[in-house]
């Protein structure tokens, strides 16, 4: 068996208080009644309580330190534990859901198992019961999700549903169409149609909550001298002024041109990050650069060197 000091993780000269604290800390984590079904926790707890039974008793601890006893044989005999009772049928005595008599109550068929067993129970039952929720998936373009759109969905049974995709819909969002799911039984209400929306990526726009980000190519002269450029936004192109002395990476904001306002959220902004494109340089530019001596030369790779 392992050295009890190692098991509790304390030095050999630890005070009795330190040993007690170490034991309590480990007992909290590994107590088998708090970790039912976890054999590893049970093993650890046995070792920990064995070690504690030596070290918590100054007399036994002294004998162990002097080599008069060894660490073996100190594992506590397994005693009637709570989990053995609680896991079995007698555990129903302390159930928070079911009855003591056994068999699954309605509460136990509750949320988790309802979808597995709901069907059978409905057919057994003459009471009115609501229809099942039916799940569908719908793919949509990025812009339809941002701006909102109506899409027609054809169901497996041939019915069609006009699905209103509200503005600002996000990927994975589930739309609930009340009463358009499975029919109710015995006069119960119909279930709902739950439609999970999958939003396709856009070539240029990236959504960031209510904001939209975009990489905007500009020419060298637009960046250096500035000027008006046309920027695509989800609501259509708008004109934006690029200030003089902009650069690749400069981020410009178009207020209110992101995702439109919806569900109490204000409209987001559109962030355009400039990306200078040189195109194919002509002779004049080449000639100019050969003779150009910058007044303030820069080292664009300085950061990289400092990090490495």
């Amino acid at each position: 068996m392992a050295d009890p000091y190692t098991t509790l993780g304390v030095p050999r000269d630890a005070s009795q208080d330190a040993i007690r604290d170490a034991y309590r800390k480990l007992a909290k984590r590994h107590h088998p009644d708090l970790n039912p079904g976890n054999a590893k926790a049970e093993e650890t707890f046995k070792a920990v309580s064995g070690a504690n039974s030596i070290l918590s008793d100054p007399e036994k601890r002294g004998k162990f330190d002097r080599g008069e006893i060894d660490a073996s044989g100190q594992e506590q005999a397994p005693r009637g534990s709570y989990r053995d009772h609680a896991e079995g049928g007698s555990g129903r005595r302390y159930s928070r859901t079911g009855s003591e008599s056994g068999g699954w109550s309605d509460a136990e068929f509750g949320d988790i198992f309802n979808s597995v067993f709901g069907e059978r129970r409905q057919t057994d039952d003459a009471r009115p019961s609501p229809g099942r929720d039916e799940h569908y998936a719908l793919s949509t373009s990025f812009l339809d999700a941002v701006n909102g759109a109506t899409r027609r969905l054809t169901l497996p049974d041939g019915r069609t549903l006009d699905v209103k995709i509200p503005p600002g819909t996000t990927d994975g969002q589930v739309l609930r169409l009340r009463g358009l799911g499975g029919p109710g039984r015995n006069g119960g209400p119909a279930g709902d149609a739950l439609i999970e929306v999958h939003v396709a990526e856009h070539r240029h726009f990236h959504r960031d909550g209510q904001d939209i980000r975009l990489s905007l190519p500009v020419t060298l002269s637009e960046a250096v001298i500035g000027g008006n450029v046309e920027v695509p936004t989800p609501g259509g192109p708008v004109s934006m002024r690029v200030p003089p002395h902009a650069d690749s990476g400069t981020e410009l904001r178009l207020r209110g041109r992101g995702v439109p306002a919806h569900d109490g959220l204000a409209a987001g902004d559109l962030y355009a990050k400039l990306n200078v494109r040189l195109g194919a340089p002509d002779e004049a530019l080449e000639e100019f650069l050969r003779n150009w001596k910058p007044k303030t030369p820069i080292d664009p790779r300085q950061d990289m060197r400092e990090q490495s």
Binding site: H85, A86, S95, T97
Partner: protein
């Protein structure tokens, strides 16, 4: 049938006062008969666990109801899972059980 004196004698460190208070708070729920409380094994084990949680793990009695509530729900779920497992073993054909096991094993963690 186990009487309250036996329980107090069996669990070292447990006082009558503690146990009676826990019963009044319904943390331990022995049967009541004309001759007083009648404990079952699970009641004794539960009283021992409550004592350990309070004295060794230093969970004070104000916090204990939360721990017991969660613990009872944990064991409810484990019993349900065991019931479900037993029902599967009796009702579900072998190949379906294999499919189910394969499906569960492939779930992302």
């Amino acid at each position: 049938m186990i009487g309250i004196d036996v329980v107090i004698a069996e669990i070292s460190g447990l006082t009558r006062q503690d146990l009676e208070r826990w019963i009044s708070k319904a943390w331990v729920r022995p049967d009541e008969s004309a001759g007083g409380y009648a404990f079952r094994e699970i009641d004794v084990a539960r009283a021992r666990l409550i004592l350990e949680m309070r004295d060794e793990m230093e969970i004070n009695e104000d916090a204990l109801p939360v721990v017991l509530l969660l613990l009872d729900q944990l064991y409810d779920l484990r019993r349900q899972m065991r019931d479900l497992n037993n029902a599967f073993m009796q009702v579900v054909p072998r190949d379906v059980r294999h499919d189910l096991a394969a499906h569960l094993a492939a779930l992302p963690r």
